[in-house]
């Protein structure tokens, strides 16, 4: 005898405002096997949950349908309610009458009718649901962190300091990320290196952190608690264990090429470290530019290396790591303004990006902190900052990159401090100084005589003397203005890191329309992804400043610890199972399975398929491939689907 209870949530007026809840309850009460229907203002509240629990106990309900918000919101909440009331948590279905009905339709009668259909579907399904038990699985108590910028560094340190092991993988030859490129940071003007390098050293000396630099994750398989990662340690062209970091090779290398780390503003050697405080302090041979590797001549670095570490033929190494959780902290790239042709970047020498200016202002940068313009090396006296390049722009990225206003203001102030007579213009749409102490900092710069010009820059063109003319629409004066300056700085926004698509595919996580990785919930689950055991930190999830990045990194650390601090986790029992009596052992299911979760076994001298519950992810592809219906995806069976279709189309439940 089936005894179903149906509970309809008003969600304040979110549902009750567009659905006639009483009418819905009346209709639902007439469905077969339904013992009770109740509606309540907020079902997810404690009294709402208690209402269901009491009914389960007092009326001997054995199955429950909740008509409320999306199951992605509260399915787990109500499963817990069932458990606590003493019935199997999988005998629950949610009719999503908020996201799929009250929020998307505006005719009350039709919406109520649709809500009733959704309830009928849920009732039909819940009758076919079977009680399931979660599967216990051992947890590998280590975390993989991808990316060792400030986000990855903070996450790793937090986890390691609690006492768990971290595998930290960095694509570049040193950890430090974008923050290491910065000179002074807003709004306190403390130097980036002064606060970052101690953390970098902490990472390299922490015995709980296994650091793989100049390395990329190539493959990840497994599931929450049990991930297996294959990591390629790229060859540095030298043996890092022998290298002492003396720098003799770099000093004597005759080849000079534009340095990526300096954003092309300075030159580096063909054997080089990114910056003096690099961690590890071990150089890399740039194989594309090394004369020995390309032409077979030179070999100076090998001759001068006192440790005998140079080995041009050294190949890549593959290391494998087992972890229980993954944190993605892969960061951002600056927007490439070449596509904004009207701004002349790449064509006019004296149009540079904000990050290029940052390298010029950096005391350890290519000019030792002196701002000069690229065309003639002169000190620019009139400088224009162009805001929102590649951000808040229908033709590039619609989002605000959140740091460029403060970054331009900070650099304007630094230039003003060096050269009080410099004239600085900041062309902006709106100034967004939202962080703690930001507005005050903005006010301070205004007092220094920096001119804020409200209007988006339409065009930049070059004069014969190398100067550039900025043409913009001044929206305060309502007129077009032209302004000849010595140099223009484009405040480029943030875009997802160039290889983020690769990481997305590795982990099966989602990206939003802006290309950044998507969190599980915009407000309440900001560091989780939809893949269990995979978390996000920093700008990989969206543009952020340093304080927000660090805060999110700490959040990701605590979420990852929430997984790996358990020795055993309960895995979802929503997986496939084989009826071995029916199975003909053809192996079609084995061939279609992406996870190698199915093997053929011998059973009474015939073949039969068997599923490894730890490997099965419950996609159900095998169930469709099976020629005689002997594999079922638990609680997503064909009989349940037919029952749902009959309920909604045939009019029965």
């Amino acid at each position: 005898m089936t005894n179903i209870g149906i509970y309809i949530c008003h969600c304040g007026t979110n549902i009750a405002g567009m659905i006639d809840v009483e009418e819905l309850a009346r209709k639902a009460a007439k469905l077969k096997d339904v013992s009770v229907v109740k509606d309540y203002r907020y079902l997810c509240s404690d009294p709402g949950q208690d209402l269901i629990k009491e009914d389960i106990r007092s009326m001997d309900l054995d199955r429950v349908v909740v008509a409320a918000c999306s199951p992605r919101m509260h399915e787990s909440t109500y499963r817990k309610v069932l458990s606590e009331a003493g019935i199997n948590p999988f005998l629950l279905e949610i009719a999503n009458i908020r996201e799929q009905a009250s929020w998307v339709h505006s005719e009350k009668e039709k919406t109520t009718e649709k809500a009733f259909d959704l309830v009928r579907i849920a009732v039909a399904k819940v009758k076919k649901d079977e009680p399931l038990e979660s599967l216990p699985a051992d947890v590998i108590q280590r975390v993989l962190v991808i990316g060792a910028g400030i986000a990855g560094i903070q996450t790793s340190l937090d986890i390691a300091n609690i006492g768990y092991e971290v595998v930290l993988v960095e694509k570049e030859q040193s950890i430090g990320g974008r923050m290491s490129q910065l000179g002074k940071t807003f709004p306190t003007l403390d130097c980036s290196a002064c606060i970052l390098t101690p953390r970098m050293v902490e990472v390299s000396t922490n015995p709980k952190i296994r650091l793989h630099t100049y390395s990329e994750v190539e493959e990840i398989s497994g599931f929450i608690g049990n991930f297996h990662a294959k990591i390629r340690k790229k060859s540095r062209g030298l043996n890092p264990d022998l290298c002492t970091g003396c720098g003799e090779c770099t000093a004597r290398c005759p080849t000079k090429v534009p340095g990526e780390y300096d954003e092309g503003m300075g030159k580096r050697k063909a054997i080089y470290t990114l910056f003096p405080q690099a961690v590890p302090n071990v150089p890399v041979i740039d194989r594309a530019n090394c004369v020995y590797i390309t032409k077979g001549k030179c070999g100076i670095c090998k001759k001068v290396c006192p440790a005998g570490a140079i080995d041009y033929e050294l190949g890549d190494e593959i290391v494998e790591e087992e972890v229980g959780a993954v944190v993605v902290a892969s960061g951002f790239d600056p927007f490439d303004p070449t596509s904004k042709e009207e701004l002349g970047y790449g064509r006019y020498k004296n149009v540079i990006t904000g990050l290029q200016l940052e390298r010029l202002l950096h005391t350890a940068g290519p000019t030792k902190g002196e701002v000069i313009r690229p065309s003639d090396g002169a000190v620019p006296k009139r400088i224009a900052f162009v805001q929102c390049v590649g951000s808040r722009d229908e033709h590039a990225n619609k989002y605000c990159s959140r740091v460029c206003c403060m970054h331009a203001i900070k650099n304007a102030l630094l230039i003003k401090e060096h050269h009080p007579d410099a004239e600085i213009f900041i062309y902006y749409i709106d100034i967004r100084a939202f962080g703690k102490g930001y507005e005050e900092f903005y006010k301070r710069t205004q007092e220094h005589g920096i001119k804020f010009m409200r209007g988006r820059v339409a065009e930049i063109f070059e004069e014969n003397n190398g100067n550039v003319v900025v043409r913009a629409d001044d929206t305060l004066l309502g007129m077009v203005m032209e302004n000849e300056v010595d140099m223009a700085v484009l405040s480029v926004g943030m875009v997802p890191r160039s290889d983020s698509a690769k990481i997305q595919k590795l982990l099966g996580i989602a990206t939003g329309s802006d290309g950044f990785f998507m969190e599980a919930h915009a407000k309440l689950r900001p560091v989780e992804t939809l893949v269990d055991g995979v978390f996000l930190a920093g700008t990989a999830q969206g543009p952020k400043d340093i304080p927000d990045t660090v805060a999110q990194a700490k959040g990701a650390a605590s979420s990852a610890l929430g997984v790996i601090s358990h020795k055993v986790l309960e895995l979802s029992p929503l997986i496939s199972e084989v009826d071995e009596r029916l199975c003909r052992g053809c192996g079609d299911c084995k061939d279609i399975c992406e996870y190698g979760a199915i093997e053929l076994i011998t059973l009474d001298s015939r073949n039969a398929a068997r599923i490894n519950p730890a490997l099965c992810k419950g996609c159900g592809a095998c169930t469709v491939a099976c020629c005689n219906g002997s594999i079922k995806l638990r609680n997503f069976t064909d009989t349940a689907t037919f029952a749902m279709l009959e309920a909604v189309l045939g009019g029965e439940a």
Binding site: S70, P71, R72, N96, R98, E99, Q100, A101, W103, V104, H105, S106, E107, K110, T111, E113, K114, D117, L118, I121, Q504, K505, G508, A510, T511, G512, S513, M518, L530, V531, L574, I592, E594, K617, G618, C619, G620, A621, T623, V624, L633, F636, D638, T641, F642, M644, L645, E646, V648, L649, G650
Partner: protein, 137 residues
Amino acid sequence: MTEFDPRIIAFCCNWCSYVGADLAGTSRLQYPHNVRIIRTMCSGQVFPSYILKALELGADGVMIAGCHIGDCHYVSGNKKAEERFRMLLGIMKTLGLDARRIRLEWISASEGVKFANTIKEFAREIKELGPRNGGKE
């Protein structure tokens, strides 16, 4: 005469399209009420017989929606769905059913707008095709 009010079934995968439909909801995007969503774990979990059963029971249109190719939460379930959908189109022809009544769509978790627009478009097309029982099918 009452206006033809089509009945549409949409099988939406748990990871992309169902989330896209939720996003249409949280963004308060309006679309025709005709669609009834059935959640599946993956588009590759949808049996071709589900679609035929829905049509047999009187659905005027059926949609399968999954993650974009390359983005499948289960690596390649959507590719399997695509192959089976091609086969379904052949069966539709054999059965004398109008192939425009079934539809395969890739809708990601961030494409609430695409979900709403797809339903708008599909409902309009099905309305133009008219009811099945009243027609020749």
